[in-house]
């Protein structure tokens, strides 16, 4: 009996327990049976022959750069890394980065001022998003809108879980997602058009050319969606229509074998119209307007190989992000709200890779960052600067043991120094079984908002101040006689610049397993202890009954769990994979209060109040204890048919603390678990024409009351001409 299948069935059953819909179960088992049949057939076909471990090995040999900042084979890395190839993205029929990421194990889509992703239970604020190693900027309330990123020019996406501040500094607390874009290669180009539900039109063109020393790559994308509306009776849409354009170019020039230059640039622009109803003291008005987002970045990189064992990367990265929005009253066109936000980022960096001996590699380097923000909600243009140095030592002790030790020092203009060490190792116990573990720290420096925000909501009347602004802000209201009472003592009110960076210590340990040919899997246990989390806190009550909020280091959290992924190459054409994550995410202060008997819970039926037990605590909001996926990928180069079927499960998660007791518990509002099925099929004609059709959310799952980001079934078809190809 095939071990791969039995393992898969195990996962299937555990997944199935979580699925409530009978037809989904039927489909699931139906697919299992067909998988088994095809497996059995392929077993017969290969009987007597030596089955190679080709595909698994191929996957382990994929070269990734994010985890160590130097090129490594996936299989050699002692930390959890997921790679999603461009080919796979194509077979999924995805258009935007959030579509791709939310199908990966342990990556949960969350919405807070944009579409972000949770990793190991962390909010989107704590994951660094890189394009070719350089960070995307422009977060709103901590979330970087992932739909800003088109996927048509992606070679592969590398997802490193666990803190990577030892290499990347601030923000890399939960992990790093690095998008590796295409490089100039051969002579090829393509044009693609796609149309789908909700008037979604995607047009993509790309061109790649490499001639001797010169390489050129260009990518253009236009994406438009008509949005959708869950509440047609009410004025305004759930998602308003928007259109965006992405331009990306890359020029490479090899001066010699030893000196190579690359210059890449990206420009993105989006505009969205919106209309909604606002109600103020009984009277309601309709407002409408336009919001615009533009961002660009430019990245020249010079790679110099001074000697065969000494390579240096000189990099410069500049980026600007700008948004503006104007909302007017429809009745008289007078301005309701006008805002803008401008952020800039500049970073020179030198990273060197040196091998003092055959089995040792030292990576070291340093750089500086200069950032600024100028926006409606800030009193003036604000600056941050950071200088940093990093080093990493990698040692292949023997053929079974790899050790990597590294660290980074960041000096922030306002918050002083941060040291982020990380130690990881991998030991091959048996040829098919490797143990790996890592211990690292991560940090996130206070952002502009937490330091310099100066915002008073003119309609409701509350105020939020960054730590540098809060004293002046409170003094202003005090002088106006608008402070009713203070809620914290004066030492806290007078402090400036006392926010500490948010910090975590993370432990990751697990196994990589290739038990039988064509099957590979991994299991990873993780625990993150997070301290100094920055939250808003009411500092004073105004005479209008509203509050003045400030930012303080007030919470601690624990995120722990297990993540596991399995892939099985069933035959030449068909592969199946399954993934699962178990997550326990707790507020440490709530745990302490439960232990002290200070949190109460009322039975909604008997109305009896008692002290909450730890077992009754549901953890942090928005975290699913169980999540998983099962995916089938098919490719037949002879017939030109390829496709995929993916089932993505997200278990129930807490939405609001309905009883207001400060902790999530049964009886509070939960979002029920759900499963989404996405299918896509493509056929290539004469290597020139690719026709693709697919359905996202096959069974039209909707939860309009609680989830506004799942629009229901999306049907689409696309046509792609591959203009030329160098084979």
């Amino acid at each position: 009996m095939c071990e791969c299948l039995s393992k898969f069935v195990m996962f299937g059953i555990s997944l199935n327990k979580l699925m409530k819909r009978p037809r989904l179960c039927l489909l699931f088992f139906g697919s299992l049976i067909s998988v088994y049949t095809s497996w059995a057939q392929s077993q017969k076909a290969t009987e007597g022959k030596k089955v190679s471990n080709m595909d698994s090995i191929q996957q382990l040999q994929e070269v990734v750069v994010t985890a160590t900042r130097s090129e490594h084979q996936l299989g050699a890395l002692p930390m959890p890394v997921t790679v999603v190839s461009g080919k796979q993205i194509q077979k999924m029929g995805s258009l935007r980065l959030n579509d791709v990421l939310q199908e990966q194990t342990g990556l949960m889509p969350v919405t807070n001022h944009g579409n972000g992703i949770q990793i190991q239970g962390f909010d989107p604020d704590y994951t660094l998003i890189l394009v070719d190693g350089e960070p995307l900027i422009g977060r709103t309330s901590g979330t970087l809108e992932l739909s800003r990123v088109a996927v048509g020019n992606i070679k592969q996406i590398e997802i490193v879980k666990g803190p990577a501040s030892s290499l990347y500094g601030s923000e890399a607390l939960a992990g790093v997602i690095n998008i590796i874009t295409e490089k100039p290669e051969g002579l090829k180009g393509s044009l693609k058009g796609r149309y789908g539900t909700n008037e979604t039109i995607d047009l993509t063109g790309d061109f790649s050319y490499k001639y001797r020393k010169l390489g050129v790559y260009a990518f253009v994308n236009r994406y438009h969606t008509g949005g959708y509306d869950f509440t047609p009776a009410e004025y305004g849409n759930t998602v308003d229509p928007f259109t965006n354009y992405t331009y990306n170019t890359k020029l490479t020039y090899d001066f010699s074998e030893k000196v190579k230059l690359s210059l890449s640039g990206r420009y993105f622009t989006e505009s969205q119209t919106s209309a909604s109803v606002i109600s103020l003291e009984g009277a309601s008005d309709t407002i409408s307007g336009t919001g615009k987002v533009t961002d660009w970045n430019i990245n020249p990189t010079l790679t110099v190989k001074f000697a065969s064992r000494f390579k240096t990367n000189f990099r410069l990265y500049a980026s600007r992000y700008h948004t503006s929005s104007l909302l007017s009253y429809e009745k008289d066109n007078s301005v309701y709200d006008e805002t803008f936000f401008t952020q800039t980022f500049l970073r020179p960096e030198v990273i060197a890779e040196f091998s003092p001996a055959k089995k040792q590699t030292i990576t070291f380097g340093g750089g500086g960052t200069s950032e600024s923000v100028y926006a409606t909600r800030y009193t003036s243009k604000k600056h941050f600067s950071t200088v940093y140095g990093l080093s990493q030592y990698e040692w292949l002790v023997n053929k079974d043991l790899t050790l990597i030790a590294g660290g980074r020092f960041d000096h922030h203009s306002l918050y002083g120094g941060q040291i982020s060490p990380k130690l990881s190792g991998q030991y091959e116990i048996l040829p098919w079984l490797a143990f790996r573990a890592s211990l690292g720290t991560g940090f996130k420096a206070p952002d502009f908002r937490q330091v310099y925000l100066n915002f008073t909501n003119s309609t409701v009347g509350y105020s939020v101040f960054g730590i540098e602004e809060q004293k002046a802000g409170i003094d202003t209201y005090e002088a106006l006689g608008q402070i009713a009472r203070y809620l914290v003592d004066s030492t806290l009110l007078n402090q400036t610049g006392r926010l500490k960076a948010e910090r975590s210590v993370a432990y990751n340990a697990g196994f990589k397993i290739t038990p039988i040919p064509r099957v590979m899997g991994n299991i990873n246990f993780f625990r993150n202890n997070i301290q100094n989390l920055i939250n808003t806190r009411p500092l004073a009550e105004k005479t209008n009954g509203q509050y003045i909020y400030g930012y303080q280091n007030i919470s601690r959290a624990v995120m722990q769990g297990i993540e596991t992924d399995w892939t099985c190459q069933l035959n030449k054409h068909l592969s199946v994979s399954a993934g699962y994550q178990l997550l326990y995410a707790y507020d440490q202060d709530v745990l302490d209060q439960i232990a002290e008997g200070k949190i109460y819970i009322r039975d909604p039926k008997t109305l009896k109040t008692s002290r909450m037990k730890k077992s009754q605590y549901g953890g942090l909001l928005n975290r699913s204890r169980h999540s998983g996926n099962v995916k089938f990928f098919y490719e037949d180069s002879k017939t030109g048919i390829s496709g995929s079927l993916r089932g993505i499960y997200r278990g129930k998660y807490g939405l609001t603390d309905t009883d207001g007791n400060g902790a999530l518990n049964e009886g509070d509002e939960y979002v029920k678990g759900y499963m989404l099925w996405n299918i896509a099929m493509a056929k290539t004609f004469r290597k020139m024409l690719i026709v693709q059709a697919g359905i996202d959310n096959l069974f039209n799952f909707q939860n309009t009351a609680q989830i506004t980001t799942i629009p229901g079934r999306i049907v689409y078809a696309s046509l792609q001409f591959v203009l030329a190809k160098n084979q």
Binding site: R485, R602, T656
Partner: protein, 202 residues
Amino acid sequence: MKNPIVASSLLLLVIFSLIFSSCNNDDDDPTPAAPLEATTFKDLNATSAKLYTFFSFSKGDTISRADSATNKWDIAFMSTKVIFNSGISGPGNAALSLQNGVFDEITVVSDTMTFKQDSQSGLALTKLSDKGWYNYNGETHIITPLPGKVLVIRTADGKYAKVEILSFYKGAPASPDATKTEETGFYTFRYIYQPDGTKTLE
């Protein structure tokens, strides 16, 4: 002991003498404290947006609005607003000490409890969500009494009571429906009133 009859007689004798002596002890106490029973008052109608509904602990019921300027009431409700017969709200000497705890476990008014009255600078019990007695959910619009909040109350005439608000909806349903406005604004609460003027609340 060999004889079971003698043995059991001796045992009975011991038991009787124990009962007898304990009865004697009881007789030494001048006032045997009968344990106070908690009372649940259901569906106090506080639906009016303009007029308070007044409640007296000694009466164990609501009283007429005509008596609002007297000492006859202790606590009054109007939608989510709760006032006490004191300061700006009435002529009495009522006051509130909002405690975190389990209703049954708060058995005495301790000296560490600080009492607040309704005054110009603010009501003894704030009407704001999460700061006073309830949580307001902005999405579902449901008002939920915060578990673990016990209102230790000095009545208008200086006696003591404790109150736990259980529901804001008619019939105290397990999952209230905020869209049924006609069933919103009905207080169900559990209370113990100590009529003898002591600080014991059990």
